[in-house]
Symmetry: C2
Amino acid sequence: MNFCSNCGSNQLQFIVPEGDNKQRFVCPDCDTIHYQNPRIIAGCLPVFEGKILLGKRAIDPRKGYWGLPAGFLENGETPEEGALRELHEETLAKGHIKHLQSVFSLPQFNQVYLIYLVDLISDEMGTTSETLESKLFEVKDIPWEDIAFESTTFALEEYLKNPEAKMTKRGHFIWEKEKRFGI
Amino acid sequence: MNFCSNCGSNQLQFIVPEGDNKQRFVCPDCDTIHYQNPRIIAGCLPVFEGKILLGKRAIDPRKGYWGLPAGFLENGETPEEGALRELHEETLAKGHIKHLQSVFSLPQFNQVYLIYLVDLISDEMGTTSETLESKLFEVKDIPWEDIAFESTTFALEEYLKNPEAKMTKRGHFIWEKEKRFGI
Ligand SMILES: [Zn+2]
Ligand SMILES: [Zn+2]
């Protein structure tokens, strides 16, 4: 942040405002405090006749690896709406929300994921600009070695422990470059 | 948003970027797309020996009404850390996370609430700049007529239906001025 988005000042200070205990970008010209907060990623764990829909990522990070449909929640949306929108945008599939399946955060990246268990209404799906391939996997065929993110593995494993459980699983993940990318 | 926070340009356009389907603030001078996303409020439903801790709000909106300790999640925090931080900041109480109790959104305000069931470690609590009074309520004494927000009532009611349930309750709330403030 280099300029005040309110008044255009280039005199922004990164200081602790009065009555606060964290550093913020504060504009001395118009007194605006510019808060920066984590963002929400809404996603799906989509199921059809016992099979799980995964998408092969067409974009980095982790292009070519398999993940769950998910993306940034937009202003004006509920997380449920956002999850189903991302499902359709990424895989062309459609479904209904069953319940909140997992919640995990990546505090290093200021992200919180809300993953909903989704019943697909059919096996209709396709490729998109974000997804090289959309595919329903039998549980025994899940490509564990080629899952995009550790958090995806977490959501899948917790689901498979008890597919009927309605509990929300929680976790958080600290990114380790060496571990995540195997380099 | 009046100025580009990256380059200071006053030529921001509110347009749909290429490959997108929503209007964003786009800077024609440095090509930055300024995304705006919902924020997360992390909160607690704090319990001690069967009693529920509520705080009487010292600040608007709904000053003087009773609510659950909650506040904006900060960058670098997990939601669990944020919930316990807000608990202590608002009521001086300390506790442990049991599970995620409710998730609800206020899409009109671009907010998503994550409320955790929390076991208090003691009945120590106090007043703060944000809370006129912190008080443990027996279930029969909960001041239903003076609860700050409809969403607070939702979280409390869902908890009381089955205090032992580990399911996360979901909801969303559309703000109606007449209804909420009774005017
Ligand atoms: Zn300013
Ligand atoms: Zn710019």
